[in-house]
């Protein structure tokens, strides 16, 4: 049987090994992302890459609320749409530098998210989901009807930040890198929160909000901060998309579908994992583009996405990353306290524990015989495990 010090040193080695592994993984990932534009076969593939990166930004931003607090918002398209429109309208009406406009739009949406958060975070579970959907539908109506300002159903043309001398493929490449940079900032922020005291409080809320409150976590304030940060990044994602795509239509911006994609991507990858939403965005984003390309304007891609969502919920409720981690862990040395103990070791333990253990055994026997509640509870525990 390994002594205590042995166990500690193997654990140390393992964790050091996994840190090195993570560092290598991160470098490979960064290299893969950065080299994508140069290996992309044609501008179309490159544009699919931009779409996927845009989804990755949105899903990662969504995960500030969904992943940390467990509040599932189906209406995050409200913030990406507002971010896009605010960016476009600022550029058109004030002539501000587009990048500054995008940042201002993000801040404006963040400010707007405060009262929305105060109102909607009071309710939990299904009620919160419904409130979040309602917001998108309201915004859709407003932006469709207020034609003089938003362009209405005709859409809004957003001026391109790069001049006409920059050709299409070059545009795609630049926006691919811009999205990647924004994604990196969002991921870094998520990672920092994940390791902080604030993040610990948020995770406690996700598991049991009442218990967290009883321990002194200011639950409402924390939820609100996570919500506002999420809205801010989502709006930046929407703004960047608007600058790339150059055209906004309310029906696509304020769509339940976009919000659902963010949820599906995050769930698929794993909402508790840093890279979960990114991975989900790559898979779902690619699948959506593939189905659209293969089956044209049919609704087939929706059927496929519905099927995918069903499969995820049934077989990988925690997402791909946790499922894969579990699979890898199965082939590693066991980390749990349950170890196989040989009879000789057991005898040794008994001997060293000595009279105390013997007494406990004795006690156990008397208790079983006389004390009804104890034997009851023992049975229950057995049944549970």
């Amino acid at each position: 049987m390994p002594s205590a010090s042995d166990t500690v040193s193997t654990t140390d080695r393992r964790s050091r090994g996994s840190v090195a592994l993570k560092a290598v993984g991160l470098l490979v990932l960064a290299a893969a992302v950065l080299s994508f534009p140069s290996v992309a076969a044609n501008p179309f593939i490159l544009s699919v890459g931009v779409v996927i990166m845009s989804y990755a930004v949105l899903a990662t931003s969504w995960n500030f609320v969904g992943g940390f607090t467990g509040y599932i918002s189906l209406g995050h398209a409200a913030y990406s749409g507002l971010g896009g429109y605010a960016t476009g309208l600022l550029v058109i009406h004030t002539g501000v530098n587009p990048w500054l406009g995008m940042l201002l739009a993000g801040l404006a949406v963040a400010v707007l998210a405060v009262p929305i958060g105060i109102a909607s975070l009071r309710v939990r579970g299904a009620s919160f989901v419904i409130v979040s959907i309602a917001l998108v539908l309201i915004l859709l109506l407003v932006f469709q009807s207020w034609g003089s300002f938003t362009g209405g159903s005709n859409g809004l043309r957003v001026p391109r930040p790069f001049g006409p001398e920059v050709l299409r493929p070059e545009q795609h490449e630049r926006f691919f890198y811009l999205h990647a940079a924004l994604l990196a900032v969002a991921l870094l922020t998520w990672w920092l929160i994940d390791r902080s005291r604030f993040g610990m409080g948020l995770k406690a809320i996700r598991e049991d909000e009442d218990k967290a409150q009883a321990l002194g976590v200011p639950t409402f304030t924390y939820k609100l901060i996570a919500f506002v940060v999420s809205a801010f990044f989502t709006a930046l994602g929407g703004g960047l998309y608007a600058l790339w795509f150059g055209f906004l239509d309310p029906i696509f911006q304020f769509s339940i579908l976009v919000g659902s994609y963010m949820v599906l991507m995050s769930l698929l990858g794993g909402i508790r994992s840093l890279f979960g939403p990114f991975l989900g965005a790559v898979i779902v984003g690619y699948a959506v583009e593939y189905f659209k390309n293969q089956y044209g304007d049919t609704q087939f891609h929706l059927v496929a996405m519905g099927l995918l969502l069903g499969l995820v919920v049934l077989f990988m409720p925690d997402g791909i990353i946790p499922a894969a981690t579990n699979l890898v862990d199965r082939f590693r040395p066991q980390k749990t306290s349950i170890r196989e103990v040989t009879q000789a070791e057991l005898a040794e333990q008994r001997r060293t524990a000595g009279p105390e253990a013997a007494q406990a055994d004795q006690q156990a026997r008397t208790d079983d015989g006389t004390d009804i509640p104890t034997s009851d509870s023992t049975v229950t525990e057995g049944a549970r495990s």
Partner: protein
Amino acid sequence: MASDTTPRASEQYLLELDDVEAGYGRAALVLRGLTVKVPPATVVCLVGPNGAGKSTVLKVASGMLTPRSGTIRVAGKDVTKNSPQQMLAAGLSHVLQGHSVFKEMTVEENVRLGAYSVKDKGEVNDRIDFVKTLFPVVADRWNALAGALSGGQQKQVEFARSLMVSPQVVLLDEPSMGLDPKATGTVFEQVVRMRDAGTAVLLVEQNARRALETADLGCVLDLGRVHISGPADELLRDPQLAELYLGGRPAASPAT
């Protein structure tokens, strides 16, 4: 019968529930003029049949239920109308019935959450060292997910979490629930260690005999009042009490 639980000497009580009446909603009173006093570094155990109001005593003491009349004092200070958070700040830490660890967070995160209201980092780290020494299991499984621990180990994590705020009194609601006799033994040993480390404990238990063997003072509750109280070993030897509440057999000697 006098409901004063402790020696009448002039020592200060850490927790006093004085003539407390409490109940849920419009239903009849559960506690009818209950008085319990907890001196420093003592384990006080409440036993009694189901429905006697044992858990309600802890709910009142932790601010989850506001009493209709009577007073609650912590170290002499009136805290009767306090919210749960204020009770925590006043020094009453409640370990709930059943398993209440955050199963998907690590042992470390669980323990640190206990000190969420403590701002001083140095103090938090001191307390962590303290609970790690007190509960070796917590130190051993520091990075494990709390949900992966056995019931008895989870209970110790909860104990550790409750001690992070340096409470005056820890309120334990049925710590042996769902544990096998051996784990129950360990949990009660830890209760004694908590007391020896200077924390008073107000303990509620179904497993009356075992709890009284652990406790210093005992109170037998019936119908919302303290029926009999006194040193725990005397209660254990009382033949009438054994007949009524401890399963019909007087304990000849506590060490079987």
